[in-house]
């Protein structure tokens, strides 16, 4: 373990063996309990003015994402323009939190977003698999930041994590954090590949100990993406981490959140788990693309009084 890592927080485990002991000393997750709790928090009914506020907050929390091999500069420009003015017909509609693209598309998006207050996130570190040498991952990160990204979404090496090589994952996050410099670092745990809730809890703590500014559930590229129980587990982790080390870390569920109803369930979950402090785009994000249109349709329904249709919103 590197010296730079150990000095970041007091009371941090300071050897690979200590780190392992620490992570395996975290309490086990009650699978039935957390799933029941997440399901129970999904039954709240949020209506009228509360719903209007929840929708606007959810829009402000969206990381509008396009991560396709087929992304073109034109598509990225259109998406960035949509991020600034999600509903061109309604100037009271707030902009989204950020646009999230591949590193090659960062300059294109930066040209549109410059000076707007909408952040520019770039995935890096051999997204989505993370299977590349460290130098490649660091170069990937530096490039994205130099081109104008102020948020970096990195993936952890799930292979190393699952093999029990926690120190390797830790050092990698520390190195990427350093390479990212002033940019915010979001660490993608890819919970769909971590197999157990215990692993999700360990990976969350590992990422936070290593200096993550955000922990993010998924890449959106595997079968299982963000689920309510996994997000609840990560919200508990950031809450407990702040209590213990005094540093606040954000949470970003990504992939599979498509409806306003789902988004509001997540907002309820934040409020009930972490409280007000996390109910802000600085501390909670939705990694999504199709969610925004559903939020806009629901918003239009509330302002016009009749149901909106997808024909009236942009496809991307």
């Amino acid at each position: 373990m590197t010296a730079t890592a150990t000095s970041r927080l007091s009371g941090l485990p300071d050897s690979p063996a200590d780190l392992r002991t620490f992570l395996h000393g975290l309490p086990g997750v009650d699978k039935v309990g957390i799933e029941a709790r997440a399901a129970a928090l999904g039954t709240r009914s949020v209506k009228t003015t509360s719903k209007a506020q929840a929708i606007d907050l959810a829009i402000r929390m969206v990381d509008l994402t396009t991560l396709e091999g087929a992304d073109t500069p034109g598509k990225v420009r259109a998406l960035s323009a949509k991020a600034l003015r999600p509903d061109p017909a309604d100037p009271t509609c707030p902009p989204v939190a950020a646009v999230c693209v591949y590193p090659a598309m960062v300059p294109t998006a930066a040209a549109v977003l410059a000076g707007s207050g909408v952040h520019l996130a770039s995935v890096a570190t051999a997204f989505p698999s993370g299977q590349a040498p460290l130098e490649v991952k660091l170069a990937d990160t530096r490039n994205a930041v130099a081109d104008g990204a102020d948020e970096i979404d990195m993936v952890i090496s799930r292979g190393a994590f699952l093999a029990g090589d926690y120190a390797h994952v830790f050092d990698e996050i520390v190195a990427v954090k350093e390479a990212a410099g002033p940019a915010h670092l979001k660490v993608i745990l890819e919970t769909g590949e971590l197999a157990t809730y215990d692993n999700v809890r360990r990976a969350s703590w590992l990422a936070m100990l290593a200096g993550a500014d955000f922990i993010k559930t998924s890449t959106g590229k595997v079968g299982v993406n963000a689920t309510p129980p996994v997000t609840l587990l990560m919200l508990e982790a950031v809450r407990d981490f702040r209590e213990r080390y005094g540093r606040q870390v954000g949470v970003k569920p990504a992939g599979g959140i498509r409806t306003t109803k789902d988004a509001i369930k997540y907002l309820v979950m934040i409020n009930e788990t972490c409280g007000d402090d996390w109910l802000h785009p600085d501390w909670f994000r939705f990694g999504a693309s199709s969610l925004l249109n559903d939020l806009l349709m629901q918003r239009t329904k509330l302002t016009t009084g009749h149901y909106a249709g997808p024909d009236y919103f942009t496809l991307d």
Binding site: G305, H306, Y307, A308, G309, P310, D311, Y312
Partner: protein
């Protein structure tokens, strides 16, 4: 031990639920109402919203199926309808009306691969162009259905045979949901026909103003004030509105009007080489 008498069977009473997306859900509101002693789900505006989502999702694939295939599926529906004669009769529908409904369905099924020739074709134009008109389905149709089984069939069949998907607000709940059961067992993809039971005055305004509904059939709206209000709401999104003059006799030959009303003509100009 004395031999016990054969116990009388417990009555299995049927609750008529909605037919949405190929399933039979209760109303999201949990409400029911009594119709002739039967419990029937009382649909809310949110059921209408869900039905429109289902109809929209089913529409491209249904419209994309070949006309021949759609015709075969609808013939199959007629077979199933025929098999349920007794059930419809027990619901108080006259035998002759069931016959007429089956015949009407078969008649419309036959039109599936013929209506394009009648409503479209090559146009003579003065110029070196090949000019072609092709009818295409309007999309999602909200239908306020008339009360009789024959009337119900006469508004659903022309809409679906042309590739539209429908959200039907039925005013004869038991027969309409039984028709839903027929459709559910006859290869008609889920979402192509959705049946809501309840008050037209409650549900129809939401369909009329819905941005994602492309046409509105007011055949079953008796109250002229409500019909006018619905037409006005539908104008907000430029929907096609079908408002037949009152007193339609569904036993008469319907002609092709009900089908062509829900088709949009696309015309293509193509340069012709010499």
């Amino acid at each position: 031990m004395p031999k016990s008498a054969t116990p009388s069977r417990l009555a299995v009473r049927k609750t008529y639920k909605l037919y949405v997306a190929g399933k039979f859900p209760r109303s999201e509101s949990g409400r029911t109402y009594l119709v002739d002693g039967d419990n029937v789900a009382l649909a809310s505006r949110k059921d209408a919203r869900d039905a429109v989502v289902a109809a929209r999702a089913a529409q491209p694939k249904w419209a994309g199926a070949t006309a021949y295939n759609r015709g075969q599926v609808l013939y199959r529906t007629a077979e199933m309808l025929e098999a349920r004669r007794a059930e419809f009769k027990s619901l108080g529908v006259a035998g002759a009306e069931v016959d007429a409904a089956v015949d009407r369905w078969v008649w419309y099924a036959g039109w599936s691969d013929k209506i394009a020739q009648v409503a479209g074709g090559a146009n003579p134009v003065a110029g070196p162009y090949f000019n072609l008109s092709a009818p295409e389905p309007t999309g999602v149709v909200g239908v306020i259905a008339p009360g009789s089984l024959l009337g119900l069939v006469s508004v659903i069949a022309p809409a679906v045979v042309t590739g539209n998907t429908v959200v039907v607000v039925a005013s004869n709940p038991q027969a309409a949901i039984t028709l839903g059961e027929v459709l559910a067992t006859s290869d008609v993809p889920g979402g192509v026909v959705n049946v809501l039971t309840g008050q037209a005055a409650e549900i129809a305004p939401w369909l009329a103003s819905h941005d994602d509904v492309n046409a509105l059939d007011l055949s079953g709206v008796g109250d002229p004030e409500l019909a006018t209000e619905l037409e006005r709401a539908a104008a907000g999104t430029l929907k096609r509105v079908i408002r037949p003059s009152s007193g339609v006799d569904y036993t008469e030959d319907p002609g092709t009007g009900a089908m062509t009303a829900l088709l949009e003509i696309k015309t293509v100009w193509h340069p012709k080489g010499f």
